[in-house]
Subunit: 337 residues, 2 copies
DNA sequence: GTTTAACGCGCAAACGTTTGCACGTCAAAG
DNA sequence: CTTTGACGTGCAAACGTTTGCGCGTTAAAC
């Protein structure tokens, strides 16, 4: 590896002059700057960011922790985050936690060890206290999910409203027996979504059938089994809502399987903007659409502002909510009277 | 930040003793080891990996460069790579190149600068010579795509065979006018796939209609416009093959649009194992299935072997090919006579 | 009782970069 | 002709960790 000293020797100046010349900044003669830069280029010099990080105490690494990456939901966030990092000259360290607090903690420890500049995190359902302590030394922004334990600003969606309007729409179509596939109550988002679902009923003076609410892990597997369960009941619901992106995939699998080549007689409402939802059964799947790009962009802006800025004392812990939409396709039909 | 010196002072030993105690290895009394570890834990010590990297010349970072992350194809690779890195205690640096050689080079420079342990790369169509030079100092393994310029071992699929059997299947169903959506000839994979497509015809003594082969950027956008073009021709092809994962998405979009709610009268064959392909139009999309998990795993194994091993002189540049499959669903039908 | 070896630990250098301070030179101002 | 200042550069310390070497102590071997 060619270092700054090699350049110094070749050009015939001191290492400090080389740094300053390469940094472009300080008072170094234009001639020297040119000679140094030429020499650096010809020797193929690449600065050692480890040394730089040790010197400055901060690296140009930004952590992105999330439970999954295969799901389009999270992939969209990763893409946006990668884009922002690239534009600002940071490197994105991707950590897939798979909703395991243990793995999460290890990854956080590694990020702290690397003296990363900042962290974007979709916390697991039960983030370990150690993880929170570790993250307290690093600029951190929460994404989508909210964990009060780590006192950090976050950006997400208005989960309650999202499911209230989703469920309200189905109710207005005449559906009464509506199944809900949801995450378990450990997740703040899951609680909110469930509450929104229920409130949609109550605000219309209807009492929801709570046995149609199936909570579990927010993964495709649960969506699949829960949907299969609901569809196989003697009195099956006339509509299903998946309150999560992965749950939606499970729901679609289960529905395909249950109806085979016949066209499904149940109304389906999904979650997220997976482009593949457009291809569902000819008419497309109706979904709750999420401004994930905007959310992630906002989170990145916030993060880089905090990274760049001089740690202003009062860190804003609040969680900023974005409005969701409802994309209506053919999977949601008026309830047959 | 609490350093090794803080621990040394607290315990009353020298910094070197602390390192050795924490490393567990060298000849340090059990009592001291215990006291040091306890102290480290209580002070919340986290080793600075930058310092470690500078000392050793290598970091625990592994680069993953790929054109996209939203596409299920690449997301699967990212997930697998992340899993392998996690197991071995490495951090995954995700770089999304968007098929831009310029961006690719910048990211590679950053990785070299970080003295990364190794790199997994899906090269862009025209990887810059500078990028190749930079990568020559780092253990590198190519994924899926092959660039001869960077002399590195790689793992991918047998592209020729994949399309030969895909196209052959449609020919055997009686199709003759088959449209192909392909990447441009800059990509080795695209050339191979096109050749496989053509050879399927020739080996059956049929001359393919080359005007039905539409090459372009291997992104969804091209798949969409190309498919729309083919479907709108006075004499439309009776079957379409997308020779790429993103191209497949574009093809499906275009087909949905072209046929509206009517059921498509064209046979469709996609590329990759996007779970969403199962939901296509009720019957599911037939696809070329790829052992992406295996490929990525093999690449990771190879990479970590090279990282761990003492650089054995003769680096094996060969490209290992994996066999693809054909998953048949309802989107491919016998040609109506 | 002396030699030898093993053991537990400290010293100091090294990794590559940045940066505060000081030094020398030269030109402009007095 | 002396003083002042600006300018270009070098010196050396610092960031946190690892590691080769050496030193002193104690126990084992003779």
């Amino acid at each position: 590896m060619v270092t700054i000293k090699d350049i110094a020797r070749a050009v015939g100046v001191s290492p400090s002059t080389v740094t300053r010349a390469l940094a472009g900044s300080s008072r170094i003669s234009a001639a020297t700057v040119r000679r140094v830069k030429e020499c650096a280029a010809s020797l193929g010099y690449v600065a050692d960011s480890s040394a730089r990080a040790m010197q400055s105490g901060k690296s140009t690494l930004v952590g992105l922790l999330m439970p999954d990456i295969q799901n389009n939901f999270y992939a969209t966030m990763a893409r946006t985050a990668a884009e922002h990092c690239r534009r600002r000259g940071f490197q994105l360290v991707l950590s897939v936690t798979e909703d395991d607090p243990q793995a999460e903690e290890e990854q956080i420890r590694a990020l702290v060890s690397a003296r990363c500049a900042g962290t974007l995190i979709v916390p697991t359902a039960n983030t370990h206290p150690t993880s929170c302590k570790l993250l307290s030394s690093v600029p951190t922004v929460q994404l989508v999910r909210r964990s009060d334990a780590l006192h950090a600003k976050g950006f997400g969606i208005d989960d309650h409203k999202a499911l209230e309007s989703a469920c309200g729409y189905l109710l207005d179509l005449g559906h009464r027996k509506i199944g809900l596939l949801a995450g378990n109550d450990d997740l703040h988002t899951a609680r909110q979504r469930k509450a929104g679902f229920i409130d949609a009923f109550r605000s219309r003076g209807i009492e929801p059938d709570l046995t149609l609410i199936l909570q579990g892990s927010p993964r495709a597997q649960h969506g699949r089994t829960a949907a299969t369960d609901l569809l196989s009941r003697p009195v099956a619901p006339s509509a299903l809502i998946a309150a999560g992106a992965a749950l939606t995939e499970g729901m679609l699998d289960a529905t395909s399987e249950h109806f085979g080549t016949a066209s499904p007689t149940v109304s389906l409402l999904g979650f997220g903007d997976n482009p593949a939802f457009r291809w569902w059964q000819g008419g497309g799947l109706s979904t709750v659409s999420l401004p994930l790009g905007e959310i992630t962009s906002a989170a990145c802006e916030q993060l880089f502002e905090r990274i760049g800025g001089k740690a202003e004392g009062a860190t804003d812990d609040r969680f900023t909510l974005f409005e969701t939409g409802l994309v209506l396709r053919r999977s949601t039909q008026r309830h047959a009277a």
